[in-house]
Structures are given as structure tokens and as C-alpha cells.
Symmetry: C2
Subunit: 325 residues, 2 copies
DNA sequence: TTGTAGGCGTTATCAA
DNA sequence: TTGATAACGCCTACAA
């Protein structure tokens, strides 16, 4: 457990010279450098990041707050964050709020206690999670990035996929496949989110025809509750705003002997393994989760270092064509 | 940014009294307690975990080292760890080694620099990852738990699913469905791991007949390379030791017009969402990933606190019957 | 180019 | 039941 002091003694210099040399704050004489280097090797010195953090009043730990980690979408985003942070010698804390059963106040306290350098909040489409806490974080001077969901506040950077573009390219894709009676299937979503998709739809089609909106619930039997609606309305293209629901709806359609693609094109929002292994494989709109994570991490690092950063980063979704359209 | 000292002054006691009161090391007079409490409230005091760690020479940060987080199995384990740690006021660091491109030596340094309180290594079935580093960790006095994979070293606790039992109940299940010509499909695995499954098979069947072993590769075309082998050998039950491969093999079988369950039962190792959304839904052996995470976390906490802990924890797999058998 | 000294916020060791 | 004092390992004025 050699300390900086030990190195200094062993190399016959002062601790502060060693410190400045290690932090590259200063150029030292060649001979000094060599003595320091051998001392470090011989004593097996490893700097103590905790002591440094205390002194500097700043850690190198970034927290990711997300609903749950065991979901392909969130873990993909997290992976992007992880890769980026590690390159810059920052560590990644994970806080799963769905499983935690902690109040937002508890989480705020947790962040302050641990002197978290920056916080990336991965938001839900369906719910403005942690809206309140963000301002607490900012009040305490902790940099924040809000990721995955566009919110209209403007005191912190946000990174999110362009859902209007998603709606547009989704509609264009379905139209290009000759599907002109389109349904938008979604779980409960705030109107302002749905509106984004609808705006995209309008941009894609000249006609004023609106897509049929179908809201589904978690415990819904899609075969019984959703498929008949699609058929009654002569829908031939469906855009499902949730990947897992898209998979289940596809199953239900297949079971009802509807030919996927020919009779009914299915388009899923999100491109994880789920779309790939569905039968048939789902055409989808890729929301660039990995990139979302990378960008979020880059921005939080800029914030932490008090460098310039983009206040708003919008990621362009793109179509990945498979068998379902 | 009130400190302990501020609280002490405000409450007219010494800093160390406040400290001991907060850490419940001591009983203080009712009146003192009240004064401290109001001071904390009025000044909005939040303890500084970093300073505490420096003084105590021990953080409350546990690191999870895993191949990658964006996998349903690993993220499920991680979720179990996360839930357990947070309950005990420990934080969770994530280090993805596949994506990191860090040497093991780098990781060891990272752990020491950050004064990590304990490390949970999530191992691969296919590869004894981080075998070397473990001893470095132990050498530096950092508690370790090796999770997910049974290894024969004994200087640190291990937590893993009973693969022999998995083989046994898998074989029993297939036999109970009248499938007596069984194949074991697997990716490249060390022999000692395969042996575990084979031992289980033998326990399940009186006959000496060994299952047909088929090794598949990542870039393999299962329809062309694997299905014909199954058919030529009149296999009617296949146990796939990798969930994703099971899904793809099922697809290939369906495509070859083989009736799943009737003509060929498919059993998958692992029970994530993938098995559930496969068509048909896969019967599988659940390896209890969430529980694995919870147990690993509990054990690392015991180690950190220098309490007694189980050196070996074996989790019992169980069958989840769905449509593919 | 290098050194001295003080302090970051907390806890542990004494002593009262 | 409480206090004074000295660390924990590092960084940063300021001085040389």
C-alpha cells in the first residue's frame, strides 16, 4: 500500500513533485522522472482515487439512473455509456429505480453522499420519470444528461431519438410497400409523444388520412382484443411502438392465419435481438440505442469538465428491413 | 455543503459526537440527539461517503465484472446484484470487459485505485475468464465472488447453477415426452463443462446410450449444417445449451417442416425473454439468473463485513414447460 | 524546476 | 456521555 509520500521519499523528491508529475501538470527533469518511475515500479504504487476525489471535491464516478437494467434496450444504452466512460477513466454506477423502491429524495441523497460527478437519466417514453429530481441535481451542482426521451426543459442537455422522423420513415416504408391502411399500435403513452409519431406520419403522406390508433394494455389478449380491430378496419400495415408488443402481435397475426408482409406488414419500433428472432423476423425502426449511450456519456463528460456541449442531440432513426414488410 | 463540523458547531457538540451518533456507535443524550437532528435538518447536511471511505480505508462500492451488459442473461444477474446491494447501501460499478479492451492488469489497477470493496466476476461457461486476476484481487485483499461458472479453485466463494442437475432434468424431461434419441447441441465448450451435462444425462437414463453431441459455430448455417445431422441420426429430442442457438435451431427446424414437439422436442438452456417469444415458445431449463445475482451479492457483502459465508452455492435449475416439447 | 504547509470531511484513539 | 487531536492520501497555493 505505497502512498505518494513513499514514492517521494524513495525517489528523493517531494510528494508534490510526484503528484504534479503524475497529473502531468508539470515537466520534470529527465533524471527525476526516471527516479519516480522506478520508485513506482519497485513499490507497486497505485494512486488512490478516493483521496484525490476528496481533495478535488470531485469523483470520477458517473451514475446511470434507469428503470431496469434487464431489458435489451436499456442495457444497450448502458453499454454505450460504459464503453465511453471507461475510455476516459470514469466509472459507471448503476441505479435501477424500478427495482429499488427508493423515493426520488433518497436517490438525490445517494448522489450527493457519493459525490457523483454526473448523472445520466435514461427516461421512459411513457412517463416523465425523475422530472422533479433533475432540478435537485442541478441545484446541487451535479451535471445531468436526460437521455432517450425528449422533454421540454432546457436547463440541462438532452439526447433522444427523433420520433417524428421515426414516424415519417415508418409511414414511408409502409406506403412504399403498398400499405395504405395503417394502424399505430401502442401502449399507454402521453399525448405529446404520440403526437410526434403522428406528425411524422403526416409528413410522409400527402393524404390527410390519419392512422388508426390502437392502445393496448399489458394484460391484453392481442389475438382477441387487437387482431379483430385490425381486420375490421381493413388495416394492411401496422406500426407497433414497442418492440415486444410487435413480436406478440406478430404471433397473434400468424395464429389468425394472416400472412405477414403480404396481408399485413408489421413494423416494430426498436431493433434489438427480439425483432431479429421473431418469426418472421421483424422489419423495424432502429433508434440507435448504442449511439444514444455513447453520446450521452460524451456530453456528461463535457459537462463535468466544463467544456462546451450540445444542449440538444437528436439521433436519426433508420429502417432495418427484414421479413415482416 | 454543510459538513459534520458545521453540524457539530450548530448543535454545540463536538464533531466526533455527531459522527458517532450518525454511525450509531454510541447512545447520546436525548437533548443532544434533538439538537443534532435539528442541525442536520436546518443545514441540509448530507454525509460525505468519500471522506468516510478515505478514513476507513474502505468504500461501499462493489464492482461487477462481466463480458457484456447487453445480454438478457448477464443483465438479469446484474439486476439481482443491483437490488441486493442497494438494500445494504452499497453501490454497483459495472465493468464490461468484452467491450473494454482493457488488459486484466488494467482492471486490477482500476479496482485498487478506486478502493473497490468487493468484486463479483460473472464468468462464462465457455471460458475461464479472469482466472489470473482473481489471485491478484485476493492478494490485494479485495473480496471476490466468482459467479455463474463452477471453477475448482477454492480460495474464494463461488456461486453457480448445477449443470449436472440441468442435464439430468433436461434428459428426464425429454424422456418423459417419449424422446429417446437425444442430441446435445452446443457451442464450443471446455470438456469439463460438457461433462457436467453428460453426467446428468447418465443419471437420468438407465440405458448407457449417450446423447449425440453436436458442436455448432457462430457463423454456422443451422439449416444446412445442423438439421441434416439431427435427421440422419433420427434424433427426436434436442437439448440446446445456449438459448439463442435454441431459438435459431427451432427456426431452422420449422423451416424444414419438422413439427416441433411432435417430431422433435427442443429444450433450451436458459429462460429469458428469448425462449418466451420464440415460435413455438421454448420449453427450457431455468438457471435462476436473478437468484444467482442476489446470492452473489449477499456473499460479497458477507465477505466485506468479514462475516461467515458459504464458500460454494449451487443453484437448482428447474424446467419451465412451454410448447416446444 | 522543486519544496513546504495546510486542508478536503471523516473517524479512531485517547483522555476527561 | 463527550472532546481534543491526529490521521487517511492527495492536491495546491505559495514560496524558494
Amino acid at each position: 500500500m505505497a502512498t505518494l509520500k513513499d514514492i517521494a521519499e524513495h525517489a528523493n523528491v517531494s510528494a508534490c513533485t510526484v503528484s504534479r508529475y503524475l497529473n502531468k501538470n508539470i515537466v520534470v527533469k529527465k533524471s527525476t522522472e526516471e527516479r519516480i518511475q522506478t520508485a513506482i515500479k519497485e513499490l507497486g504504487y497505485v494512486p488512490n482515487v478516493v483521496a484525490k476525489a476528496l481533495k478535488r471535491k470531485e469523483t470520477t464516478n458517473v451514475a446511470v439512473i434507469l428503470p431496469k437494467i434487464n431489458s435489451l434496450n436499456y442495457s444497450e444504452i448502458t453499454s454505450g455509456i460504459s464503453q465511453t466512460l471507461i475510455k476516459h477513466n470514469y466509472n459507471l454506477f448503476i441505479y435501477e429505480v424500478d427495482n429499488l423502491h427508493l423515493s426520488e429524495a433518497d436517490v438525490v441523497q445517494l448522489m450527493r453522499e457519493n459525490m457523483i460527478a454526473g448523472i445520466i437519466i435514461i427516461g421512459l417514453f411513457s412517463d416523465l420519470s425523475f422530472k422533479e429530481s433533475i432540478y435537485s441535481f442541478i441545484e446541487w451542482g451535479i451535471p445531468v444528461v436526460y437521455a432517450n426521451r425528449c422533454i421540454s426543459y432546457s436547463d440541462f442537455p438532452i439526447v433522444y431519438p427523433d420520433l417524428t422522423k421515426a414516424g415519417k420513415i415508418g409511414a414511408e416504408h409502409l406506403l412504399s410497400k403498398g400499405k395504405n391502411r395503417i394502424a399505430l399500435v401502442h401502449k399507454k403513452l402521453p399525448y405529446e409523444v404520440l403526437e410526434l409519431f403522428l406528425n411524422g406520419f403526416h409528413q410522409a403522406s400527402d393524404c390527410e388520412q390519419k392512422p388508426l390508433m390502437i392502445e393496448i394494455e399489458d394484460d391484453m389478449n392481442l389475438s382477441k382484443d387487437c387482431v379483430p380491430i385490425l381486420l375490421q378496419n381493413h388495416i394492411n400495415g401496422v406500426f407497433v411502438l414497442n418492440e415486444l408488443s410487435a413480436v406478440y402481435l406478430t404471433k397473434a397475426l400468424v395464429q389468425a392465419d394472416i400472412r405477414i408482409a403480404e396481408d399485413m406488414a408489421v413494423l416494430s419500433l426498436g431493433n434489438s435481438l427480439l425483432s431479429q428472432i421473431s418469426t418472421p423476423e421483424l422489419t423495424c425502426v432502429d433508434l440507435q440505442n448504442l449511439e444514444l449511450g455513447i453520446r450521452s456519456a460524451e456530453i456528461i463528460l463535457s459537462e463535468i469538465r466544463k467544456e462546451e456541449f450540445e444542449p440538444v442531440t437528436v439521433l436519426e432513426p433508420f429502417i432495418v428491413e427484414r421479413k415482416s414488410s
